[in-house]
Every structure is written in C-alpha cells, then in structure tokens.
C-alpha cells in the first residue's frame, strides 16, 4: 500500500479527481455558522483564543451543549480551570442544564486539576494519564465533540515544557485520528495569539475573540484569523452573550439588490399622506425625520406606528431616550393609544441607552430583535444618540448596514434625527440623508415671540410630493397639519397666522356686507320701477276705457243722428243725394278708433 502510494501518485490522484470539500461541523451558535460558512472543521481542532473574559469557555461550552441537544452529538468538556460544579453554575444562567445532559449521557465533564506545589519531577514521564482520561470520557458516551478548555494550563502545571510540547503534538494527532471535532481555548499572549504558541499545533482554524473598550463601552468582537481550506468572512464580527447564549452577527453584507415594492403605507397622518401624493410612503423605504429638540419627531413616529398597528402590521420601536411607559404616557396625552397594540402583541418596544454598549452591539441587538419579532415597520428614535458612542463615520456605516438589512426584509423604517439648534437645519448630523428615501424636516419657526412648528418634505424618492410648508400642530387627537398662511404678508404661522386669518375674515365679511347691500338696492329699485310701471298701466287702462266709451257714445250718437236724418228724409220724401254726407262722417269715426288702439 505504501509502495503503491509512493510510486503511482498520478493514479491515486485520478481516483480522487473530485476532492471533497472540507466537511464542517455546525456549532449551532447563531451567526457563527454563517460567517464560517458551515461551522468548525469536522474532525479537526479549532483554536479559540482571546484574553480573559472574552467568552472562550462559553463559546466552547455552547458548542458542546448545542451539539448534544441539536445535533445529537455527545461531547466531552475537559476543563483545566473550573470544576464541574462551577461550570454548571456558570452556564445555568444561559439555560444550559449540564447535570441533565450528563445524566442523559450526552455530556461528560472532566475537571483536570494540577497543583504545581504538590508535584515533584523525577525523571522521564509522558501524559498517558491524560490520554487515558480523555479516551475513557470519549468512549463512555461515544463523543463526537471535545473541548479542551485552556489547555495551556498544562504549561504552568508541569515543569518540563519539552515533554508537554511533544505530548501535545501527539494529543492532536491522536484526536484527529479519532475523528473528533475539537475546540481548544487559549489565553491570548502578549502580541501573539496564544501565550504558549499553541497555534502551531492547531493549524486548521483559529478564531480570535476580542473584548474592546472604546469610550468606556466594551464591545465583543470575533474574527476568523485562519480557516484552512475554506473561504470565510474576514471581518471582525460583533457578538454578544445574553440569556440565550452566544450570538454572532454577520451583518456586514452591503448590497443594493433589494426589491422596490410599489405598495404604499400611510404615514398615519392623513394630511401628510396627501402631501405625499395622497398615499404615504413606499413600503420598505427608509424615512428620516430630522428636527431640533421638541419639534415632535417622536410624535410623528408614534403616528406612523399607530397607523401600522391599526392595519394589523407588526411594529418595533427602538427607543434610545425614553422608556416604554414614558412613550406610552406621552403619546396618550395627544390621543395616541399605543398600549392596546403592545397588549395585542403587535407593537414591541426596545429601550436602551446608547451608552449601554457599543455601536456594533447595538446594531447586533437591533438585528436580533428584528429577526425575532419580524416587524413590518421599525422606528429608531433617535439615531443621533449613537454619536455619543461612536463618531459619525462609524455611525453612518452602521446605519448603512441597518438600512440595507431593513430594505432586504421590506421593512419600512423611520429614523429620527436630532439637529442641534446651532447647526445648519438641513444637516442630518449623522450624514445619512443620502441613504434615506424620504426626508421630513420638522422645524421650529420663531417669530412674534412664539415658536411654531413647520413641516416640510425635503425629499421623497419616487413620490410626487408637495413642496409646501405645513404648520404642524399637536392637538389632543394627534398631529394636525395646517396650511401655513402664504399671502401678501409672507409666510405666517401660529397666532400670526390666525390673527391674519381673522383680519382677512373681517375684510371678507365687510366685502360680503357691501355686496349684499348693493344687491338689496338693486332689488329695491326694480320693485320701485315695476310698481311705477303698474301704476302707469292702470292709468292707461282707465284712460283707454274712457276714450273707448266716448267713442262708442259718439258712434251711437252719430248713428242716432243718421237714423234721425233718414227718418226726416223719409218723412220729407227726399231723394238719395243726401246719403253721401253721412258715409263720409262714418269713415271719420272708424279712423279715429283705430288710431287710439295703436
């Protein structure tokens, strides 16, 4: 076999034409498997180094506990520093019940303790005792994973370093032969990864845990120094240890490949929606609310959240200035009841002080909370408080990552930003305005001895938005947007606006009165003339009657005369010549009648 292998290497290479990729063992630690693309190398040792308190033991323990509970892989924990009981107590706060796992034969705890003062060295020895102990522990439960917690304790326990080094080499070879996935923890040395150079034995995967204090705020970070045979994330990743254990946050991915939904979501203020072409913001957009202190940024955000919850969506409110109770109380005073949504489980608050932990950890916490709660809407109030923890460059980079993450999940986010009174009002302080899709600016406008709030939409990508300044009034039923007075007197707000409006109303009233008066005058004249017309007509009628009567009488009289003449003529036996005269007289009467009628 040896000969064949030595003489026909091409053959064997052809047989292995498709080399299998490095097999990885999932740790089950959230985030860690993602940055290592699968976990620690299977069947090989992994070195976890870091200074005191960096979380090495916890990482190792979680690797075993998760292995036993999630992957059904029993594990052995060889501790050189803490007793079984101490270990169990330490991790009990993380809800790991070691005693139960031991009883179920899923875990073996072995405390290797050496008191240097008790030991005298006489002649040659090896560490077969340790090997036998390991072997026994491994075979007793069929372990697949093993942790050697601070193996370098051997160096301080035993005097002969040469023997230890030789034995360690043998130990790692032996563990590899057994196919065990090993995690070794190591104290960080001065300028080196490990104090005793253990990394030279463990060449497969080296992970560095770090605990850095910046501005009195400590942040835990993790970096993969080396991972042979695989690609891995090379950045420093923040991690934290909470009641659920270790969490690594692979949130450095920056991409612009998110979808752009066309659906719109209401801002919660009808008038603001109208300013945004009637429908509000795009879903998944990032909205910046900037303004000086007391301009109502949080209230705008509360409206937004209320509207989302009323639609049945889930909202997550990250508050860095106020407690949950305080926000609920304050918003109730302006008629926004957020408590009912909290009770329904639609709204969740996350309150913390920015100085509580570092920026990365904040991002990590936000990331985690969002992943757990799966909200549709997120509010971060305010982002400017992060400047207390980090400089604006770091804050911007953190927010960029946060926005990318939110967009990827189509979460509509509202960020409030406090502008200091001295600085340029359109300065968003953190310099994130270019990252935002919409930017509302709330501004205090001081004039005539009072401050009034004005609201502008500085930008709203993809929305034909109003360019008008609106006056922003807080009432007991929330925010009202009112048209600012824009007229010959300039832009007026507050009492100036109302007094100007009152003046205008008075003038208007005057004008209305004058018009009404003129109208009445007109009607009066009309009535007058109509009455006169009626009277004249009556008079004419009377006169006409009289004339007609006269004419009739005249006619009758003429007829009477004619009849009389004819009678006389008949009596006188006159000839016909006398008739002509009478006819002429009759014609004259007809003509006269016609004339009057016309």
């Amino acid at each position: 076999m040896c000969l064949g292998g030595a003489f026909v290497p091409t053959n064997s290479r052809r047989l292995r034409s498709k080399p299998t990729a490095l097999e990885k063992e999932s740790t089950g630690i959230p985030g860690f498997d993602e940055i290592t693309r699968g976990g620690v190398p299977k069947g090989r040792p992994t070195l976890i180094c870091g200074s005191a308190g960096a979380g090495k033991t916890l990482f190792a323990m979680e690797f075993l506990v998760r292995g036993a509970t999630q992957f059904n892989e029993p594990g052995v924990f060889i501790s050189f520093e803490e007793s079984d009981e101490e270990l169990a107590t330490n991790v009990a706060s993380l809800n790991f019940d070691l005693h139960e796992l031991v009883a179920e034969k899923k875990l073996v705890l072995d405390y290797v303790f050496i008191e240097r003062s008790e030991i005298e060295e006489t002649g040659e020895y090896d560490l077969e005792g340790l090997f036998l102990r390991l072997d026994h522990a491994i075979t007793s439960i069929g372990a697949k994973r093993i942790v050697l917690d601070t193996l370098e304790a051997l160096f301080s326990a035993l005097p002969n370093e040469a023997i230890i080094r030789a034995e360690l080499r043998r130990l790692f070879r032996w563990l590899k032969e057994k196919g065990l996935t090993v995690v070794i923890t190591c104290e960080r040395g001065n300028g080196t990864l490990t104090r005793y150079g253990l990394e030279e034995y463990v060449a497969d995967c080296v992970i560095l845990l770090d605990h850095r204090v910046h501005n009195q705020i400590s942040t835990r970070r993790m970096r993969i120094v080396k991972y042979r045979g695989t690609s891995h994330g090379t950045n420093e990743y923040p991690f934290f240890i909470d009641e659920k254990g270790f969490s690594v946050l692979p949130i450095t991915s920056l991409s612009l490949r998110h979808k752009a939904p066309t659906e719109r979501v209401s801002s919660g203020i009808q008038r603001l929606d109208t300013m945004l072409s009637g429908e509000g913001f795009y879903r998944g957009s990032s909205i910046l609310l900037s303004g000086t202190a007391g301009t109502g940024k949080s209230t705008l955000a509360a409206h937004f959240v209320e509207a989302a919850c009323a639609r049945g969506e889930r909202a997550l409110f990250f508050a860095f200035e106020e407690s949950q109770d305080q926000i609920i109380r304050n918003m109730r005073s302006i008629g926004i009841d957020l408590e009912r949504f909290v009770k329904k489980g639609l709204l969740k608050f996350h309150n913390s002080r920015p100085s509580e932990f570092g920026l990365e950890l904040h991002l990590a916490m936000i990331h985690k909370a969002i992943t757990e709660f799966k909200p549709n809407v997120v509010v971060v109030d305010p982002i400017t408080n992060f400047l207390a923890v980090a400089d604006s460059g770091e804050t911007k980079s953190m927010l960029t990552r946060l926005i990318d993450f939110l967009k990827l999940h189509e979460i509509t986010a509202m960020f409030s930003s406090l502008t200091s009174a001295q600085s340029e009002i359109e300065d968003s302080q953190v310099g994130v305005s270019s990252l935002m899709d919409a930017w509302l600016l709330v501004k205090n406008i001081e004039s005539n001895g009072e401050r009034n709030r004005g609201l502008y939409i500085l930008k709203a990508r993809g929305i034909a938005h109003s360019n008008q300044v609106r006056e922003f009034v807080l009432t007991d039923h929330g925010i009202e947007l009112i048209d600012a007075y824009i007229g010959s007197e300039g832009v007026l707000m507050g009492t100036a606006r109302s007094s100007q409006l009152a003046r205008e109303r008075a003038a208007e009233l005057d004008r209305q009165l004058a018009t009404a008066h003129k109208e009445r005058e007109l009607r009066r004249r009309q009535d007058l003339y109509e009455a006169q017309l009626l009277a004249l007509k009556g008079q004419y009628e009377t006169e006409r009657e009289a004339i007609l009567r006269d004419l009739e009488e005249e006619k009758k009289r003429l007829e009477g005369i004619a009849a009389q003449r004819r009678e006389i003529a008949r009596l006188r036996k006159a000839d016909n010549s006398g008739n002509n005269e009478i006819k002429i007289q009759e014609n004259g009467a007809k003509k006269a009648r016609k004339g009057i009628v016309r």
């Binding site: 050496i114 060295e121 020895y125 090896d126 077969e128 005792g129 340790l130 102990r133 026994h136």
Partner: protein, 115 residues
C-alpha cells in the same frame, strides 16, 4: 510479592506481611499510577521499591494502579502524567511524576529525611 509486577493492577506490596504492624505499615501509603507494562512503568516501580526498602522498610504500603484497566481512577487523584507516584499518607498529598530515577528528588518529594 516483591520484584517486578507482571500485571500491576491495584496490587499492593509492603516490606512486611500484612498481618503484622498494620498501623505502622500504613504510615506510608503510596500509590503508583502506571499505564500498561511500559519499560518506564517497570523502571518506576523498581526505583520506588528500592527507595522504600532502603528508607521506609516496614513502614510502607504500595498500591499500583494500571489506568489502562481502570481509567476512571485517574480522576480521583488528578493523574495526567505517567508514571505518577502519589503519597496518600502521611498528609498532605504529594505527587511525584516521572520514572523516579532521581532518588534525591524522590526523597525530597516524599519528604523523607535521608539517613
């Protein structure tokens, strides 16, 4: 019972027969941990025997424990190195690692005043 043990598994040996001077014999209670019959184990046992015979004659009791056969016993005395000699009595417990080839060091380790 003297000489090199063929199968050193929890076998005990002392200078006298067990029935006489029990209290005296147990004044020095020594335990030697080995892992199989390696030359180093055998050397250690021989060296220990020689020292005991010379300095602790009649006052000692040696127990040899083979961890190959009883690996669980390694835990009790916190054994890492092989061979390890544990002085159980007199108190306090002392440990001597190595093949016990350096008699001087063994005497210091066991806290025996050389005559």
């Amino acid at each position: 019972m003297k000489g090199t043990p063929r199968k050193p598994s929890r076998r005990s040996t002392n200078g006298h027969s067990p029935q006489e001077n029990d209290g005296e014999a147990n004044r020095w209670n020594l335990r030697l941990y080995v892992a199989g019959q390696t030359p180093r184990s055998l050397t250690a046992f021989k060296n220990l025997k020689d020292i005991c015979e010379e300095y602790l004659k009649g006052k000692y009791h040696i127990e040899v424990i083979d961890l190959m056969e009883n690996p669980t016993l390694a835990r009790g005395d916190q054994i890492l190195a092989i061979p390890t000699l544990v002085r159980k009595l007199p108190q306090p417990i002392r440990k001597i690692i190595g093949d016990l080839s350096n008699t001087e060091r063994v005497l210091v380790g066991l806290d025996i005043q050389p005559r």
